[in-house]
Amino acid sequence: MAVLDIDQAGRVFGSGHLRVVALDNVSLRVGAGEFLAVMGPSGSGKSTLLRLAGGLDRPTSGRVLLDGRDLAGLDEAGLAQALRQQIGFVFQEANLLASLTAAENVALALELDGVKPRPAMAGARGLLDSLGLGAVGGRFPGQLSGGQQQRVAVARAVAGGRSLLLADEPTGALDALTGESVMGLLRQRCATGCAVVLATHNVRHAAWADRVVFLNDGRLAGETGPPAGPECLLGAGQVR
């Protein structure tokens, strides 16, 4: 079963001559451990798609299923709980709480899930260690570089074993090499079974994904399909 199943979803804003179709009959499935990148020009529907996937907005047609459950069938409280427990978000800005250390920022996400403070802190430190961020756990966001902050934000987003990570331009403010390290981190989370959906303008970062889909005017305009084997590298074999 797919972690995220977007089934013929549409999203229309306004009506009459002000009607704008932001998303038009889009179907996408993302399985456990799969890394999907969504590319497209500004206004093509990338952010709308991510907002629907994350339950921050509802489709005007079609369905969005999370682990097989239709989000439309949940009331406000049920939706809030499903989102908090199953989905992690990463945005362009890390948005860490400045008065908490890196580890405390991650632990807070676990505490909101109902974990007691002490085990939450232990869980946060363990997670930061596993992501190669053990050394920065005790530092405050102001003492971290932009890249370190963003990697801590990824750790916070995946804390508690969330099954889906949604990332909207998470590398927009980072230099080339630091952006790559964030992509490496997303890749690493996929290896643990987390599904990742990345919206980006940056084709170099999209290329870290297993599959890249292209949106144009709210419609799917193409996709790269599943990864090719090593025999296809560097030359022959790209042509279907």
Partner: protein
């Protein structure tokens, strides 16, 4: 190979002389790819042999070349197939888009989109090699892979630009049809 297909693209608009083809080709490609008249006639000879064009003498006894049905099929196949990476240095992609626009027989946006899928696919492959190489410590190999990554990225970004230009042109054309009273330079601003 794209001289063949470029000539077919030019001929898809109507019959032409060999010298006219040379002139049109160089004008269309901003002369970035110089083509001598000998190459044109050699290529036309092969196209004729392969049944993709036919030649008839005009009133002055000069050969006029015309595309055949098989030639149109071959041209359509070219537009439908992304350019393989090994011929990229020859700028075949730029040439293909130029002739897709000029000939009017191809859906230019579809050509752009198909190529982008192929380019990003190649970029994914290189990125996977890179991810594997990061732990290997072979710096020279990593630098080489970075070079391939940035070449493919440049191509993908150029394709984005092509698509944006085509979209803007389509919007402007649509506005001009619906609102002929609005000057063309303001039409796109108002619609966005």
């Amino acid at each position: 190979m794209s001289v063949r297909h470029s000539l077919l693209a030019l001929l898809s608009a109507g019959p032409m002389h060999g010298y006219g083809l040379k002139t049109e080709f160089q004008a269309a490609t901003a002369e970035v790819w110089p083509l001598n008249v000998g190459q044109v006639y050699t290529t036309l000879g092969r196209l004729e042999r392969d049944g993709l064009v036919t030649a008839v003498a005009d009133a002055d006894g000069q050969k006029v070349y015309e595309i055949t049905g098989a030639g149109r099929e071959e041209l359509a196949r070219w537009f439908e197939t992304p350019v393989p990476r090994e011929v990229m240095p020859r700028q075949e992609l730029a040439i293909k888009l130029v002739f897709a626009m000029k000939s009017g027989v191809a859906d230019v946006e579809a050509v752009v989109q198909r190529q982008r899928v192929a380019t990003v696919r190649a970029l994914q492959d290189i990125t996977r090699l890179k991810a594997a190489a990061e732990s290997g410590g072979d710096m020279a190999w990593l630098l080489m892979l970075d070079a391939l990554v940035f070449q493919a990225e440049a191509e993908a970004r150029w394709l984005d630009m092509c698509e944006a230009r085509l979209a803007k042109e389509n919007i402007a054309a649509g506005m001009a049809r619906r609102h002929p009273e609005i000057p063309a330079d303001q039409a796109v601003e108002r619609s966005s």
